[in-house]
Symmetry: C2
Subunit: 230 residues, 2 copies
């Protein structure tokens, strides 16, 4: 299932990464982050994490409400997220914070992308787990830096960096770029340029990785498969 | 996979149906209607169709915008619905009507539920196909009755019935009941009382029909399955 090995002497081109747009405040983004790493590992693909702010896309650009505060959808989310996490085998617990934002976390991400790229993604994994399994208040820059220190970063340096204009501008540019590509929610993936939204769509991502087209019949265990219908 | 046969002399209780909330204006509702009938047939389950109006849930109750007119999500829908239909092997074409509503169709449904229940669902299947494969304007009561006549209904009688207060009140009551159960979009299913939203979630419905719990490991071909991750 992984990329074909290169012939001797001709190095294979780097495989196209799966682009993964994330915001830390989304429980489905958190589950998507675990799922996409599992799936990518099985197909020998690299995952390229890219930040987006739901406060910008959902509230400002689309003019909608935060999901937890949307009538009907909010209560459904409360029922759906825990059962989905159980189903997927992912640790999960709702946090008790009324308002949470990921500005500090995502500014740390764009700063580390330049200065310590490997730890950028590692820190996001830690922050997702901190918020969605331990209920830590990742809105606070101190919490972000605390988690970064646990990875071996210089917490004081990072705390300073995420308050400087460079990090703010870098994040703003990243979010604008996301919006210009049509990203509106998380998890949002691009697989060979194909946009796929939602933690519900992993079967679609896997189908694409296998067949690179939508017109092939899907694999037999998929309930959507007309081949398996009597 | 179907319900256990009854012991001789003791008739088996009727299997619990899968409840399927639909509105004709949703392309995902249309695809869901085809999918759920396929899936139910494989598990010996009956599908109970129940009407809901997205104009009520999305606009009035949730205070959101129609999906096609929501920035970012609208363009994504235009890309997503055709590829999903192709993937699922379902005939699909976007219609060209600027505004469509399903009042006439759903009033015909609630009327026929009382007077000719078998044809109620058959008519909905025809209207879904009329709108989403032929682009017929099902907003018009005449089009609804035309499709009903093709099924052997008395079109003139139906045209009269869907303009009477009984049908209007019956639909209103059905929509209120849907909202009180938390139904906000389509397709929306209840499987043994468990609410499941979205054409993306058929793997979840199938898992429930097989295991009746969320804590079992899911089937091996599912990319979500931790068992299959190396």
């Amino acid at each position: 299932m992984s990329e074909a090995p290169s012939a001797a002497g001709s190095p294979a081109p780097a495989p196209t990464p799966i682009e993964f747009y994330f915001d830390l405040i989304s429980p489905f983004g958190y589950m998507g982050s675990v799922m996409i790493e599992r799936l990518a590992a099985r197909y020998g693909k690299r995952v390229e994490w890219k930040p987006v702010l739901l406060g910008v896309t959902v509230l400002n650009v689309m003019g909608l409400k935060p999901l937890p505060k949307t009538p009907l959808k909010g209560p459904y989310l409360r029922h759906d997220a825990p059962r989905l996490a159980e189903f997927l085998g992912i640790a999960f617990r709702f946090h008790a914070h009324e308002n949470i934002n990921s500005l500090a976390g995502l500014r740390a991400f764009v700063h580390l992308q330049v200065h310590d790229p490997r730890r950028a993604t590692e820190l996001m994994r830690r922050l997702y787990a901190a918020l969605w399994t331990e209920g830590r208040d990742i809105t606070k820059a101190e919490v972000v830096c605390d988690e970064a220190e646990a990875l071996g970063c210089d917490g004081a340096e990072l705390l300073d960096a995420i308050q400087r204009p460079e990090a703010k501008q870098r994040l703003q540019a990243a979010v604008e770029a996301a919006v210009s590509r049509g990203v509106f929610g998380v998890p949002f993936f691009f697989v060979d340029g194909e946009p796929i939204w939602g933690v519900d769509r992993f079967w679609m991502i896997e189908h694409w990785l296998q067949h690179h087209t939508w017109s092939q019949p899907c694999h037999a265990a998929n309930p959507a498969d007309p081949e398996t219908v009597g």
